[in-house]
């Protein structure tokens, strides 16, 4: 009788352990993407600050802002709207750039936030939140300055 009970308890523990392990694997495999819009920004700058920080020391800036698994820092960047266009994926892109800077911050929106761009005009000063993908740099082969790239963007104030 006692023995039967012990076996019963052991079996229950085993089944529970399997369920937990299985659901953990399932969660790992199906874990959702980070919601950039719902997350708090890690840093707030104007476009000149982040551009110049990258131009001064790209290695240190990559270390500071990029994440090893691709979930890099979320930035809030304010700046002057220099350009508005659509990329090859039909996503709206706003370039925040001061006329005095060599590069700006290119902000790509999402299907959910695209519509907000329609109210933005060039020359306005706005603040955009997004995840940083890569920094500003001069590329000698391209022969041009590359902008800081942010994606999953939304307008937080204008």
């Amino acid at each position: 009788m006692k023995r039967k009970k012990i076996i019963q308890i052991l079996l229950t523990i085993l089944v529970l352990a399997l369920i937990i392990a299985g659901s953990n694997v399932y969660y790992q495999f199906n874990q959702p993407h980070r919601n950039v819009q719902a997350s708090k920004a890690d840093y707030s700058y104007n476009s000149s600050q982040i551009v110049n920080e990258y131009l001064a020391n790209p290695t240190a800036a990559n270390e500071k802002y990029l994440d090893e698994e691709g979930n890099s820092k979320i930035l809030e960047i304010s700046g002057i709207v220099a350009e508005i266009f659509e990329d090859f994926n039909k996503q709206k892109v706003i370039l925040l750039k001061s006329a005095l800077d060599k590069a700006g911050v290119s902000c790509t929106f999402t299907p959910e936030t695209d519509a907000t761009v329609n109210q933005i005009k060039t020359g306005e000063t706005i603040t955009v939140k997004g995840v940083i993908r890569s920094g500003a740099s001069y590329d000698k082969d391209l022969g041009v300055y590359e902008n800081v790239i942010m994606e999953k963007c939304s307008v937080v104030s204008k």
Partner: protein
């Protein structure tokens, strides 16, 4: 007299400005790079629309700079694996680059509408490793718009990209089909 000198100078300046601007490099931010990995276990695809490319019609120089963290995957776990130090190590190597040249430039007329088959040879750098590649590129000229299209294979081992163990090592193909498009 003075007036005519000013006129001549301005005409010369205008001519230089217009002719040199024609020979100038074109810059595109309308780009698409996607890849496709097929194994019996699963198909994985990913796209990136954030590359910057330049094309110099007078020399045939083509450059692509690709921000690696802009590759998006359906599953978060795949995206994490892709970026990790075990695979593309995008924190240390945030950009890939192609520096190429059209080798049969005489067969491409950028001023005339049409579809041209170009040969591009160049250096492709992924994860800090540079290899020479020779690929076919279709160039479509239509009015003022030039479109480049190419599809080629990348052997991951050439660039020292491999998962040593675990599920990703069996679920990712050794050769990746890569599709590139840019509009100038």
């Amino acid at each position: 007299m003075r007036n005519s000198i000013v006129k001549i100078v301005s005409v010369v300046v205008f001519l230089i400005a217009t002719t040199s601007s024609f020979a100038q490099k074109l810059v595109s931010q309308k780009t698409s790079i996607s890849f496709f990995s097929h194994t019996p276990i699963e198909d994985i695809k990913s796209s990136n629309f954030k590359s910057v490319s330049t094309l110099d019609p007078s020399t045939g120089d083509i450059v692509f700079s690709v921000p690696m963290q802009s590759f998006e995957f359906e599953k978060e776990l795949m995206q994490k694996h892709f970026n990790s130090s075990d695979f593309l190590d995008t924190k240390k190597e945030p950009k890939s680059k192609l520096v190429g040249k059209i080798t049969n430039l005489s067969q491409v007329n950028f001023k005339k509408d049409g579809t041209y088959n170009a040969e591009v040879s160049g250096e492709l750098t992924i994860k800090g490793t540079t290899k020479t590649i020779n690929e076919k590129v279709t160039i479509i000229v239509k009015g003022a718009t030039i479109t480049l299209k190419s599809k080629f294979n990348i052997v991951l081992a050439d660039y020292g990209i491999a998962f040593k163990k675990g599920k990703p090592s069996t679920n990712i193909a050794k050769t990746i089909e890569t599709t590139v498009e840019a509009e100038f």
